[in-house]
Symmetry: C2
DNA sequence: TCTGTTTGATAGTAATACTATTATTTTTAT
DNA sequence: ATAAAAATAATAGTATTACTATCAAACAGA
């Protein structure tokens, strides 16, 4: 198995966490802790205790916990983008390519050996519960200017292009992609916590029905 | 004009803010302040200064700021539900009824004289920027058990029923309604702050295109 | 071995999210 | 009109959070 590293936008960190041992412990324990405590209760103090280090040291890598969250989410989106590009490579049929992309977006994530020391399953749980917190702040505009959301935009754009290839006359390829990307996570959250809101919860695993739901919406809408 | 009051679930507050003058100042100034500062920077301390009262007094009405947010959001959802019921009353044609509901969901909100001293326009801005913060917490399940989300569920259910009436064979009426309800707000947020993510931003006002987008998605999907 | 980089240790601050107590004012019930 | 009850204000206090600053120790590379 080839071992890869995703290169992320420098603006995301104060000091590259992939460059040192402490840095990678911050990220991987950060994922575990945010998953466990939820983003609100997660603090750098608690994280520094977990990794036998100090608050001050964590601050050397990330300006604040919001930046760490954005970093982690960006890793996830870059990972999805990479996988979609890999899996749709050499596929001529536009419909088939879009279908593959939707499958990747909506499936339950298992640990990927290509990226050891990242717990993709925990990551997906964080994405489901916390990813919108990257955008929905008063400083979105500044964060956006700094390029913090390039990863998400790039993924959204990729799906948008696949949609546009299937039906070049459809007026809202990006809006649809964005909506689906959001819904894929939110529907799982609602299925787990407010099940009366969605039929996705009627199965043992929400992911099977989720896939059917999003493919139905996408292909019907652009047909 | 008839002046109305929406009755909200008792679990939403420690003491009914509609029962006293201080209570209604808490809610209406709360809306203004959350709109201005964003939910993260909003505090009961700041609110108490604005209304010439004290922190302790605010705490008598709401356990914490999250509860105040849920209260405000619930008011909004109840308001939408009331308006949809009002506007679709006596409409026989299921498609037409659904179309009316979608219009109400996706339109820019103006102040409604039926409910004086509520700034519906500010409220919509809060819904767009903050509403998901009601759900996406570690205490969702407890909050749900207490019935805090009944308002949202009820609205979602109403739309779900309208969808099911148009096409009783469609498998995901609730999932679709839930997705659309979320997307109607998120798309406006993205249009305002990350415009490259959605075609909704291409117009002067995002609301015109938003309406077209959501009706396209809904009617195509269930056709 | 000198030099620079990284980390650890420690300390400190303003703000937040509350809780508690008591005094004062306002409302209501008789 | 008055007493009792309820609501509010005033004040104080606490643990935690989200940082910033300083300095020393460890270590890595040339």
């Amino acid at each position: 198995m080839t071992v890869l590293q995703l290169r992320l936008n420098q603006k995301l960190y104060a000091k590259d966490p992939q460059s040192t041992d402490l840095g990678s412990r911050i990220v991987s324990k950060g994922i575990t802790l945010i998953d466990k405590l939820g983003f609100e209760s997660f603090t750098f103090k608690k994280l520094s205790i977990e990794i036998d280090s100090t608050e001050a040291s964590v601050y050397r890598y990330f300006e604040n916990k919001h930046r760490l969250l954005v970093y982690i989410m960006t890793w996830y989106w870059a990972w999805l983008e990479y996988r979609i590009q890999f899996e749709t490579h050499n596929i001529e049929d536009a419909k088939k390519a879009l279908d593959i992309a939707l499958k990747i977006i909506g499936e339950e994530k298992k640990n990927d050996d290509t990226f050891p020391n990242v717990d993709e399953a925990a990551l997906q749980r964080i994405v489901i519960a916390e990813s919108d917190k990257t955008f929905f702040t008063k400083q979105v505009d500044e964060d956006n200017k700094e390029g913090l959301f390039k990863g998400y935009k790039s993924l959204c754009n990729l799906i948008g292009n696949l949609v546009a290839k299937v039906n070049p006359d459809f007026h809202y390829p990006n809006a649809l992609s964005n909506m689906i990307l959001e819904a894929a996570n939110q529907q799982v959250f609602f299925a787990n916590h407010l099940p009366s809101l969605t039929e996705i919860s009627e199965d043992n695993s929400p992911f099977d029905k989720l896939h059917k739901f999003i493919t139905t919406v996408v292909f019907k809408t652009i047909s």
